[in-house]
């Protein structure tokens, strides 16, 4: 299938021995000049790039406490060395979180610390050379910013913060990554990552309305740009057309329909994802976020709800109020923003949804905790709600649910292998290898518990798994949206069709 070997899945996780340099060749395509410039970065490598990069490094350590503290604090204890899915899948030692950080830290030491300035060899400090820059470009695009290492570090050092800073330094000297930067430029120009213009969106949503009416006999609406609606729904643009994403969007519409609330999508904020985070650029992240504020103001909504998307939910939950707040113009009875699962779980508890769990009886499900939802956000009022609420919803609409091994779920979950701006075909080897720990855990529940499908709540996870599952001999269709399960199980008021006489409903929570 490709010019690399898919890792072998084992019955129990094994920590591999290091193999130096085996992933040094992995590099994503470089961004073209026009896209660099649209984001406010130089089009190509600037002449005095060493100095510009060092100045940028100094600027960033002054702007981000996380970066300054993390660069100083690492003691090389080794606790993180076996925690990164990219290390476990590739065995390249520079994919160990501490070694990845050290690519940046050794330059920081050389230019900003006493020991590194005067005794570089002693503390492993190096000049910023072209070789170092190449290493940065390669290995800071082998980090999905999933934060698994930060759970295990005794000082909470988060490699994502270092990767973001490194990518921002590289952007500032004209070396950007094609995938991320072109997508951000597309968001500015058209409004979403996939480049779907307003007429295409309207067309798609109309098509969905027809499909749902054909299936159920009920006219469920999928509104776009409706002024005065109560709820603005912001969802990843993959939800507008790709399987299994679109089945999730169908589910959101059914839930809103049954809950009897008015809602709308926006053609301006037709994208939940915010790739500004991946490249560590506060300015770009803010600019992408402001679209949502503007859309909410223009449409005059009272609430904002985000669809199923992992990194988007991190930016929404953790950063949106900072980047685009304050949200004092929205209804103070509701958090801003809310997650679609918070909304659906609330409706399930209220009993407004008529649920037929047997509609999902053809599946035995497991759930993949998306990294940024798990370790960088929350749902509901309690810590850990981000683990409970998705599972509660799944269990409320399905009879068969099994969790994967405890060291691979909740805060210890493995990234899908495609997060953080790496979901691009030019990084296919990395994506396949990085998925190994998750694939291993999945294969074990398939063999031990007869699991048939894995549910996810992130557009990147869904796309990534669809692509890599076949490499591991599994079916690409086994990945489903959580709201696809909800959609299957909801019996709409007045619904016709084969489920008509089956009224085992209402055993919700």
């Amino acid at each position: 299938m490709a010019d690399f070997d898919t890792p072998e899945l084992k019955e129990y996780p094994v920590i591999p021995h290091i193999q130096e340099g085996v992933m040094a060749h992995s590099k994503p395509f470089v961004a073209k000049e026009e896209f660099q410039e649209q984001l406010g970065f130089p089009g190509e490598l600037v002449d005095n790039w060493e100095q510009v990069a060092i100045d940028k490094m100094g600027e960033l350590t002054g702007k981000y406490r996380s970066l300054q503290v993390f660069l100083d604090s690492c003691v090389k204890c080794g606790a993180c060395t076996d925690k990164c899915h990219y290390y476990l899948g590739t065995t390249d030692p520079k994919n160990m979180p501490v070694a990845r950080q050290d690519l940046f830290r050794k330059v920081y030491r050389r230019y900003f610390t006493f020991a590194g300035k005067h005794f570089p060899k002693l503390v492993g400090a190096t000049d910023l050379t072209k070789e170092v820059l190449d290493d940065w470009y390669s290995y800071f695009h082998q980090c999905s910013q999933c934060r698994r290492c930060s759970v295990y570090c005794p000082y909470g050092i988060d490699t994502a913060e270092i990767s973001m800073a490194a990518r921002e330094v590289m952007d500032s000297i004209g070396v950007g990554q094609k995938y991320c930067n072109e997508i951000i430029a597309k968001v500015y120009k058209i409004g979403n990552n996939l480049g779907l213009p307003e007429p295409a969106l309207a067309d798609t949503l109309e098509g969905l309305e027809e499909d749902v009416e054909d299936d159920t006999g009920v006219a469920v609406k999928y509104p776009l740009d409706v002024k005065g609606a109560d709820i603005l729904v912001v969802t990843p643009s993959a939800d507008f057309f790709a399987e299994p994403h679109v089945d999730g969007l169908i589910g959101y519409g059914k839930v809103f329909h049954e809950a009897g609330v008015s809602w709308t999508l926006s053609s301006k904020a037709s994208e939940a994802a915010n790739f500004g985070m991946f490249i560590g650029s506060y300015e770009n992240m803010r600019r992408v976020s402001m679209r949502i504020r503007e859309a909410a103001l223009e449409l005059g909504v009272k609430r904002i709800i985000f669809g199923e998307c992992g990194h988007a939910w991190r930016v929404a939950y953790s950063f949106l109020n900072t980047l685009a707040g304050p949200f004092d113009f929205l209804d103070p009875k509701y958090p801003v923003p809310q997650h679609i699962l918070e909304f659906t779980w609330n409706e399930i508890q209220k009993g407004t949804l008529n649920i037929d769990k047997s509609a999902n009886d053809d599946m035995v499900l497991t759930f993949h905790d998306s990294c940024n939802v798990a370790r960088a956000s929350r749902m509901g009022p309690e810590p850990g709600g981000q683990f409970k609420i998705p599972r509660n919803v799944i269990k409320a609409v399905c009879n068969n649910f099994v969790d994967m091994a405890p060291e691979t779920i909740h805060e210890k979950t493995f990234c899908c292998g495609g997060g953080g701006g790496l979901l691009t075909d030019d990084l296919m080897e990395l994506r396949v290898k990085g998925a190994m720990p998750r694939m291993e855990a999945l294969k074990n529940v398939i063999e031990d518990h007869g699991v048939t499908n894995m549910a996810a709540i992130c557009a990147i996870c869904k796309s990534q798994f669809t692509k890599v599952l076949p490499y591991y001999g599994m079916d690409m269709d086994m990945i489903v949206s959580v709201h696809q399960l909800v959609s299957n199980a909801i019996v709409l008021t007045g619904q016709t069709g084969e489920d008509d006489e089956d009224e085992s409903a209402d055993d919700a929570a």
């Binding site: 702007k63 993390f70 003691v75 090389k76 080794g78 606790a79 020991a115 930060s150 953790s318 801003v336």
Partner: protein
Amino acid sequence: MSFLTITYTLLFYAATALLVAGLARKIMQYARTPAPLKIPTTPAPVTRTGVVMRMFRELVFFESLFKSNKWIWIFGWMFHYGMFLVLARHLRYFTDPVWTWVDLIQPFGMYAAFAMSAGLLGLWVRRLVVDRVRYITALSDHLMLALLFAIAGTGLMMDYVTHTDIVAVKAFFLGLMYFDWQPIPTDPVLLAHLGLVATLMIIFPISKLLHAPGVFFSPTRNQVDNPRAEPGLRAHNSRHIAPWAAELDK
């Protein structure tokens, strides 16, 4: 006063000044650098009290390290808490009369010195034996372990091999504190021990030992999980925003 006494007197004043000034500089830097975004590693506490508890567990039990790797945890904990007790035991050289609790822990301090050394050895063996840890180890990491081990070793030697005049040692340190300088005993082991300690003090603020103040400032651990506008937790008109980021709104 002998040349040795003058040297060690000046050395300890210099080491103390560098330690205090260096640490103060770094702590000021950490405190002044803004944390523009809320990045606690979740699940995280939603209240200040919860964060204090999280930090307490992190500092006292090394909670994250415990989740991570039991060997590093055992050796790291033995070393740090061994050293903590040993340091507490050494307060008897700086207090007159000696505080009661310092008197009471004297016998435990001896076991602690062995625990500290054993922990250091364990950590060192990991650096040599585990290929992943060997890969990330720099020369300075070995030297740091060597320094700490030599400090513990010379300290233990004075208890078990060649005793020193601890009354005179105490007079020397009290003299430093009250600017009433006293001669230092001339045993080589004591001089080595004190020289190594002064070295440690000097390199503390310019080395990875900065993890000690750093852990208190780590945003992934010390932030409250309350970023979004939420009824009852964070008002809809409130925001977490850094001064430089607020400039962008203008």
